[in-house]
Symmetry: D2
Subunit: 93 residues, 4 copies
């Protein structure tokens, strides 16, 4: 089981809403909506995706990383390196 197990339904709900936003974007382009309005909606979808990331990452630190540290050994080091890499990808995307 992973860190996000307790909030699976909440994450799925958020992702379904984001899927709806992406379909809404296709509709906007299909109906020749104004570019700036489309850009505003893309920013909203991007921020919603970031919120999912930040919440998954928080649960990852709170469970997977915490467990690995409590167990001690080389596993903890590896988990922290992995989390650091994921944070870097998030910050740079």
């Amino acid at each position: 089981m992973h860190g996000y197990a307790d909030n699976k339904e909440a994450h799925l709900r958020r992702l379904r809403r984001i899927e709806g936003q992406i379909r809404g974007l296709q509709r906007m382009i299909d109906e020749d909506k104004y570019c700036i309005d489309i850009l505003t909606q893309i920013s909203a979808a991007t921020r919603a995706l970031q919120a999912v990331s930040l919440s998954l990452l928080d649960e990852h630190l709170r469970h997977c990383v915490t467990d690995a540290i409590a167990e001690g050994g080389a596993g903890a080091d590896e988990k922290i390196k992995e989390a650091g890499d994921a944070i870097a990808r998030l910050v740079r995307s």
Copy 2:
């Protein structure tokens, strides 16, 4: 007609692919995939959304803003202000 009219199909294709990525994320969570792998996929979807934004924005400058400037008058000022606001939202999201 807006700036992106010539590339409507290309934008729709990219957004359909992003919609598929978002559905893939739901499947990953549903199948209890590893948090870090999910985060990697979210970063990929975020970058794909940004690429759509940058391409829409480029076309907006190239057509809508260019036309408004060529026409002259207060319309150009407003269009540039609007584009600047959209860029700021993009940079901060």
Copy 3:
């Protein structure tokens, strides 16, 4: 003369303040301040740098790009491509 000529003093003032923030960060590390407080100050300096970027970019669109479009010809195309590349670097950094 470039787009930002009218606001040179304002930009210099902002950059001097950011330089002060960077010196403050060195002092914080030198005095062993708490990591999280240092991170908060780095976020503030990053946002201040972004604000300078967005304001330079706005003036660039408002002057350099607008002039190139008004003159017509291939120069306008090149200026818009250059601005688009700068926006992409900004969004991705």
Copy 4:
């Protein structure tokens, strides 16, 4: 002592280099350099600041958060919440 104690000199060196970049930006504006070249240098300084953040954050996880988890108790929870908030500020700036 904080997480970054072992790398104090490396962080100070990086921040002094960033301070130099910010002074270089002032010189560029003072000498009326081209807007786009200034924007390129701001993106470079922003990325350098982000690299300092990511490295401080990594050390924070590796030391402060790890120690709090090893000690157990409510302190660990608080440290993870604090780290999560710092990551969110970083991602959104």
